[in-house]
């Protein structure tokens, strides 16, 4: 074993979406950081859908951006189509989604890593994590190099004992047939970690020029200044957007699948891992919803320099010949050329109940885990965790308190709290319905929620911080103007209002009052009061939301105050649950296992009842009184 001459402060295993954020945060905070990855040509690679964002996921990207992460900037500079989803369902759930140029996305991220000060990027297959007396020491690679490091962040995605399944054929492989990490699982088990087996899948890729687009419905992008990063707010929108296309499966497709169902690994017992419910394979959909005569298929371009198309809606692990046959039954794909078959992949994941809320493992000090290896799915969920792990590895080296976002602060907080407190039985995808305070965790206010944290940690640059401060000032100024400007009930005013099917006025009211009406938009306000200062779309949306939602927002704010009370009741790190009277046995075991940091977190553990919480509170109170 060759001892590498340089000692690193932070070593990141893997350069996927979690690894990149972790490494950038660590090195940007001034620590000598090493990234080891199996293949340098697959940095920030998108082995599944070539897109970023969507409900909850897009919110996470904004949060990453407000904290000073890279994902938002990377997708902004490499997207080939962008859409704002849920525009009519309310500002809290509006979300951006962009189609990425997959190659460009990878290349830009690789360049950012290569140029980053304090960051070394190397190819290497890690086989072992070194630890002594419960403390991490470094890693070893398959080619005989030993790297020493004070902190290690594990972000190995779906590579741990990865196994690809296509019909009767199986390969030991990571996504896209890359080398799997076979030995690392054993090393983790030797360190005492318990692992689970998950499964996910991807659809076939086809050649664009063999598709008959006339038979499909185009799904064009949206115009306007639509960007993830707050840095790019107000810039002119991207031009030359590509279109996606929509087509459908039909009864013939389904009968081919049904005829071959006994050859489906999902049903023949070949696949053992637990798959996600929100992303079922087409064979699963056909079997579980037999009455549904057709399923949607979105054709998404994978980039500007390739003609490969991703078929969203058709993940499958059926044999390649079956894939070939059923594809050609689909409208517009009668003569389609499949260039890569869809596949299922099984992989090991860490049971996240072995982690603390800062993503450090409880078993090995200095070892953090983030991303798909933690049982999540999705690039955004991975990026969010990677950022937090990188930040926390750095903060502890600085002797500072780790960053733990709570459920009222960010989707990233909801995500990590769910993982650590409850664990997950299937690949975990973020959904807006998982957030209790959804009206406050909006994408438009991610900067308001998190910029000051990014700034304090030291990740948010001067420029972005200054932009943020200016924007806040402007918002306050406009809110003040709206409150002070009185509109009098003149015939002209009432005509404008009636045109909007909004009731006329009979006494003077403020612009703010008028803005509360659901049917009134910003441009109507400008009609009523041409003297309003102009401002960016982002500011308009935020002001509109703050005014229209005021009552609801205040309600959630009160709930949050209530929620925070128990979150602030900290449980001592060394608390001995055997000495807390009256706990039920199940609760006692769970508390010992998960070791929550606060009474609030304890209450969210499955199997801890309100009565157990009262017992805990009483115990804490008594300790306080007895000193």
């Amino acid at each position: 074993m060759f001892e590498y001459p340089q000692t690193y402060q932070i070593i990141v295993i893997g350069a996927g979406h979690a690894g990149c954020e972790a490494a950038l945060a660590a090195s940007r905070l001034g620590f000598k950081t090493l990234v080891l990855t199996i293949d340098l040509d697959h940095i920030a690679f998108m082995p599944c859908n070539p897109s970023v964002g969507g409900p909850a996921k897009g919110h996470i990207v904004r949060e990453i951006d407000a904290l000073g992460g890279e994902m938002g900037r990377n997708i902004d500079s490499t997207m080939i189509q962008v859409r704002m989803l849920n525009t009519r369902k309310g500002p809290a759930v509006q979300a951006l989604r962009a189609q990425a140029d997959k190659k460009k996305y990878h290349l830009r991220m690789k360049e950012v890593l290569e140029k980053q000060k304090n960051l070394d990027l190397k190819q290497g297959l890690v086989t072992r994590i070194l630890a002594e007396e419960g403390r991490v020491k470094g890693v070893e690679t398959a080619t005989g190099i030993r790297y020493r490091g004070e902190k290690v962040i594990l972000t190995t995605g779906t590579f741990l004992r990865g196994r690809i399944i296509i019909g009767e054929a199986t390969f030991d492989a990571g996504p896209n047939q890359q080398l799997p990490a076979k030995e690392l699982s054993r090393s983790l088990q030797e360190l005492g970690f318990s692992l689970k087996r998950f499964k996910t899948g991807t659809p076939p890729r086809v050649l664009g020029r063999t598709i008959d687009y006339d038979k499909t419905e185009p799904q064009p992008g949206h115009a306007g200044s639509l960007f993830f990063s707050f840095l790019h707010e107000g810039r002119e929108g991207i031009s030359g957007q590509l279109s996606c296309h929509l087509t459908h499966t039909n009864p013939r497709t389904h009968s081919i699948i049904n005829e071959n169902i006994e050859r489906a690994p999902l049903f023949s017992g070949v696949i053992e891992g637990t798959g996600p419910r929100y992303c079922p394979s087409i064979e699963d959909k056909v079997v579980s919803f037999p009455r549904k005569k057709s399923h949607q298929v979105f054709i998404e371009p994978e980039g500007l320099t390739t003609d490969e198309m991703y078929l969203s809606g058709l993940p499958t692990s059926l044999p390649e010949d079956v894939q070939f046959s059923f594809l050609r039954t689909i409208k517009g794909m009668e003569r389609v050329d499949m260039v890569r078959p869809g596949y299922a992949i099984e992989y090991d994941v860490i049971d996240t109940r072995q982690l603390n809320l800062d993503l450090e493992t409880r078993l090995i000090q200095g070892l953090y885990t983030a991303g798909q290896v933690n049982g999540t799915s999705g690039y955004e969920e991975a990026g969010g965790q990677g950022l937090i792990a990188g930040i926390n590895a750095a903060l502890t080296l600085q002797g500072r308190k780790p960053l733990i976002l709570d459920r009222a602060q960010a989707y990233i907080g909801v995500l990590i709290d769910d993982l650590v407190t409850k664990g997950t039985e299937e690949p975990y995808r973020m959904l807006t319905s998982r957030a209790e305070y959804r009206l406050l965790l909006r994408q438009d206010n991610a900067d308001q929620r998190l910029s000051h944290i990014g700034r304090e940690i030291g990740l948010l640059g001067d420029y972005q911080w200054e932009l943020f401060r200016q924007k806040q000032e402007e918002i306050e100024k406009i809110l003040e103007i709206l409150g002070k400007t009185k509109i009098r009930p003149t015939p002209e005013v009432n005509e404008i209002l009636q045109e909007k099917t909004s009731g006329g006025l009979n006494k003077p009211v403020s612009l703010k009052e008028i803005f509360r009406r659901p049917e009134i938009t910003w441009s109507d306000l400008v009609d009523l009061e041409p003297g309003l200062p102009s401002c960016t779309q982002g500011i308009q949306t935020q002001v509109e939301t703050m005014v229209k939602y005021e009552g609801y927002i205040e309600r959630q704010q009160r709930e949050i105050e209530h929620f925070k009370k128990l979150e602030k009741k900290m449980l001592p790190e060394k608390i001995d649950y055997d000495r807390v009277p009256n706990l039920r046995t199940e609760a006692r075991e769970k508390l010992k296992d998960i070791r929550p940091i606060s009474v609030g977190q304890a209450g969210r553990i499955n199997g801890v009842s309100p009565a157990d919480i009262t017992s805990l509170l009483i115990y804490l109170e008594r300790k306080k009184k007895n000193g």
Partner: protein, 459 residues
């Protein structure tokens, strides 16, 4: 545990006057009582000194209706049971006016106290030592083990069906909204945007109807239905007469004397009790008697309370066993009669079905043990320190229903006036949360299951 808000509950220490006291606790409790209390000299709770009392009336501020004549006792923090500002309203009427007073408070932002909440507040405000507080935990624990949910089955069949259906419809609306928010590009079959309003409309009407037919109102207006059952000749009619203090039902030593049920109204310390004597339970060939037995089974379903009578003289029989197996534990009291004859009845079979219930021993003929029977009936209805009676838990049901209705209304009105889905969902979730206190469902745990079981999601 929200320590700021103001809570109220019936204080129900065992003994005389149990029905008379309502406790209000919390920073705003004085002001809350001010709104509904009228003193001839204009005294107000918020201006009175600690531990002083005032006489007056509780008046509905909206209608001017007089609910009851009362005395209020005012306490200031920290010198009170809970350590917070408190008012005790000592009412002079029976359950109906008390109910009216509770409604006046609860409709104006006071929250119905959770079980043990007064004591819990007392502990956290340093008014109580650990041993006392742990006793409270035991109580909460006992409740948790039975399931936090209030026993739905305790309600009449149609009532619980109504609640289940409303909750099911709301789940459907919520699953649809959440799915269309989180999966905006998926096809959601079997439900449309138009359905949302229609469903909310229906649920609102159903909940309104449910509240109207609510059994608590009936119980207090018409009397708590208390049915006496048991094998022929165990002394049911004798028990009825004894509780009544009059010879109303025919008593003979011939089994099967009572063929048709006999109903009598009695007043138990202010609680109206509708006492029903029935034909003895047994499988029978006699057609006339069979009719009576069938009717008895129906009666049981509609009863609020059941007195199951055993005969100490003839011992525990297979028929007794069968009877105990068919009646619900939470609304039954087991009475062993004729202890003047023989006290050695084997109670193993009783314990099997009623492990937690107190067994009452009486001699209906000699009038022994009857006071304890009256007490036990009262506790079942109003509750004791440890347990809630069905009246209180019904009060909780009703509160939950009212809150659910309020949320559904807000959701429907909002939806009609064009608020966006993310806002409407807040109220729909609110409604489900309140119904969940009856049905035991929790939203955050169950929502994904609902989405994925209803819709084919995922691309």
């Amino acid at each position: 545990m929200n320590r700021e808000d103001t809570i109220a509950a019936l204080a129900t220490p065992p003994g005389i006057g149990a029905l008379g006291i309502i406790r209000v606790s919390g920073a705003e409790s004085h002001q809350q009582v001010d709104r509904i209390f009228k003193n001839p000299k204009g005294k107000r709770a918020s201006e009175m000194n600690g531990y002083t009392a005032a006489y007056g009336h509780i008046i509905d501020p909206d209608t001017g209706e007089n609910a009851d004549e009362v005395i209020i006792l005012v306490m200031h923090a920290p010198h009170s049971y809970t350590g917070e500002n408190m008012v005790e309203i000592i009412a002079h009427g029976g359950p109906v006016p008390l109910q009216a007073i509770m409604d006046l408070l609860l409709d104006r932002g006071v929250r119905l106290a959770e079980q043990g909440e007064f004591t819990r507040r007392a502990f956290f405000n340093g008014k109580m030592d650990l041993a006392q507080a742990e006793a409270v935990v035991d109580v909460i624990e006992a409740k948790t083990q039975k399931g936090l949910r209030l026993a739905l089955d305790q309600l009449g069949g149609s009532l619980s069906r109504f609640i289940r259906e409303s909750s099911e419809k709301l789940w459907e609306v919520l699953a649809y909204c959440e799915a269309s928010i989180d999966f905006p590009e998926d096809e959601l079959d079997g439900f449309t945007l138009e359905d949302v309003e229609q469903y909310l409309d229906r649920v609102e009407k159903d909940l309104e109807k449910t509240l109207e037919t609510y059994s608590r109102g009936r119980a207090l207006r018409e009397g708590v239905r208390t049915t006496i059952i048991g094998r022929p000749n165990v002394g049911k009619s004798t028990l009825l007469n004894a509780l009544l203090g009059e010879e109303r039902a025919l008593v003979t030593s011939v089994p099967g004397t009572t063929r048709d049920s006999v109903e009598e109204l009695i007043n138990l310390d202010g609680i109206p009790l509708r006492l029903i004597d029935t034909a003895g339970l047994r499988e029978t060939e006699d057609e006339v008697e069979k009719l009576g037995v069938d009717r008895t089974r129906k009666l049981l379903e509609r009863s609020d309370l059941i007195l199951a009578v055993l005969d100490s003289g003839s011992g525990f029989t297979a028929e007794d066993e069968k009877m105990l197996a068919t009646i619900p534990q939470e609304k039954s009291l087991v009475v062993v009669n004729k202890i003047d004859l023989d006290e050695s009845i084997d109670l193993t079979g009783v314990r099997e079905h009623f492990p937690e219930n107190e067994i009452l021993f009486i001699s209906a003929l000699e009038g022994r043990g009857l006071e304890r029977v009256r007490q036990a009936i009262k506790e079942r209805i109003i509750g004791s320190e440890k347990e809630e009676g069905f009246w209180v838990s019904n009060l909780r049901h009703e509160r939950a229903l009212k809150e659910a209705l309020k949320s559904v209304k807000a959701a429907r009105e909002g939806w009609k006036s064009g608020v966006t889905m993310d806002l409407a969902v807040v109220d729909i979730r609110g409604a489900l949360h309140h119904l969940g206190q009856i049905t035991g469902e929790t939203i955050n745990q169950d929502i994904s299951r609902e989405i994925f079981s209803r819709f084919c999601i995922g691309k």
